[in-house]
Symmetry: C2
Subunit: 339 residues, 2 copies
């Protein structure tokens, strides 16, 4: 049952008019009385947002979007897709950035719970084997439509738009093998995230399909950040049995990888071949031909927002809708093997 | 004077208890009576947020940040700086992107007014000669601390962190002139924005200081977006009396400019010299030596948030504090003149 100001008045033993004066901070109220009212508000857990929501049933037309890293152009593209639908539907959007931190993700979700929003799109930071299931609980208790984007949440059954990461990585590695590579390193993403795990599965699957032994020394565990791509590529270059190709699991690590290769005067693909997960449009702009496994990011963002919109329009009827999109291999020559 | 539920009760000619029931959507109220109350709420402009704020004086610990383009790494860096202070102070942040549209900026500010936030940092999209002064009015009526970042708002006197755009552009152009250039094109930003205007002033000032005539044909009006840098560079390359150097007024247009030069097989600086406003870290990562006028973006974001924090801590004492930072010229050879 919703807490009303009548409850507060009863609890504090004052009149409705007094509660009203305290709430509105208008007119004279004795300090002692004010404290009683505030105490009653606290005890009854009478939150401003609860009032605000029940107040008018007025639609706020605001949706919340939570992403792990707004400095990553991949999420910039997803947000661009979301924005287009948000604008067309004449809604507003507020963004939260979790900076790839599960702790901040929880804070962001709690924050959005307090704000007056109607639905939420989450590109999860924490998703697998995070034994604190607080994020999941928070999501499930939001009481508003939720759409996942790009990453799944274990033990959940929310609607969402995903990408077939296993297939994408598989095809990228297959292209390298086709060129004659067998010594292929992978730089993984944050391995507790499902996309990172799936991309590693795709890598292993392609090697296995070609009877190439999986060399654990060629698996380098990154964290999706540029710095890890940079450092791990340096490690790769220092290996005795150096790989002839590198598969990078996201765009930021690809940048780090290229930086390390540049600094060592290693030419792509003459001295090292590369296939990268996630397109980096800036490389195209600058005329650098890196082969990508490109995900339809803007389309994914658009689709996620369309799903959310459907759920907002008809909350009763809303059913779980999970859409998996297919990445596209864009070969530009960096996968080549110079014998 | 704040509107209270007493005012609503008087206006609607009903009791406080009735208003309370309508506000809380609890208990029985005749439909006709409900309509009267809702009408009174509307006429008195009694917004949910007004209640929410006055309700408890409970701190929400949320700050709002409004930027023109989150897909632009310049704003990504500013946000990174803001985030660091937000995290250290254990606050939360919600972001709004205006997509370089003054219309969306107004919507964003109105949205934040409805949300429960304690302070706001705005990197303005609309600022000069926008005859609709709605954004300014909205800002001034927010009733919470405001800090401007990166761009100023005419006729306003908010605290803020700015950059000396005139000086930055002046020094960039001086470096080109020193190399022997006199035919220097500029690609401006959205010219109704103060930074764009100031960068153009710096350009003209440097030419004047060297007794070089200002050739209006060398002034190309862009809009901060990559596409305009690309198109305008193509125009520059098609000129009969082609300039020997290009000054680009922001990072995204620099990307577009480089793209056009690449496509025409124009080498930097052999065939064309460049000095660019705003650092593009990705170019450094990729080993491309473009000379920049670098603004201390992360520091600017940090400082803006620190200013806001001061104002939040002591609203009474808060005074207007306007800080101007100095950009730094980073010469990497792209400004050179090959005779």
């Amino acid at each position: 049952m919703a807490v009303t100001i009548k409850h507060i008045a009863d609890k504090a033993g004052v009149s409705l008019a007094t509660v009203s004066r305290v709430l509105n901070d208008s007119g004279y109220v004795k300090e002692e009385t004010r404290k009683k009212v505030v105490q009653a508000i606290k005890e009854l857990n009478y939150t401003p947002s609860a009032i605000a929501r029940s107040l008018t049933k007025k639609k706020t037309n605001v949706v919340g979007v939570v992403v792990p890293d707004i400095n990553n152009p991949h999420f910039g593209e997803l947000i661009k897709g979301i924005s287009k639908v948000v604008d067309a539907a004449n809604l507003n959007m507020i963004l939260c950035d979790t900076d790839e931190s599960t702790e901040k993700e929880l804070k962001a979700l709690q924050l959005l719970r307090e704000q007056r929003i109607e639905g939420i799109i989450v590109s999860p930071t924490s998703n697998e084997n995070d034994f604190n299931s607080e994020c999941l609980n928070t999501l499930e208790n939001l009481g508003i439509p939720i759409v996942l984007l790009d990453g799944d949440v274990k033990y959940s059954n929310f609607s969402g738009v995903f990408v077939d990461n296993i297939k994408g990585a598989y095809e990228g590695i297959m292209a390298l093998i086709k060129e004659g590579h067998s010594k292929i390193a992978i730089i993984t993403g944050r391995i507790n995230s499902k996309p990172a795990k799936d991309r590693l599965i795709g890598y292993k699957k392609a090697l296995a399909a070609n009877n190439i032994d999986i060399n654990e020394e060629y698996i380098f565990y990154g964290d999706y950040k540029e710095e890890s791509g940079y450092k791990l590529t340096q490690e790769i270059l220092n290996m005795k049995n150096r790989p002839t190709a590198i598969f990078t699991s996201n765009n930021m690590m690809t940048l780090g990888c290229i930086k390390a290769l540049n600094e060592h005067g290693i030419s792509i693909p003459r001295d090292m071949s590369i296939v990268a997960f996630d397109e980096l449009k800036v490389l195209n702009i600058l005329g650098m031909n890196i082969s990508f496994i490109a995900t339809p990011t803007e389309e994914m963002g658009r689709t996620a927002m369309e799903l959310l919109l459907e759920n907002l329009k008809d909350k009763e009827k809303s059913h779980v809708n999970r859409i998996t999109m297919h990445p596209k291999l864009l070969l530009k020559g960096s996968e080549k093997f110079k014998k």
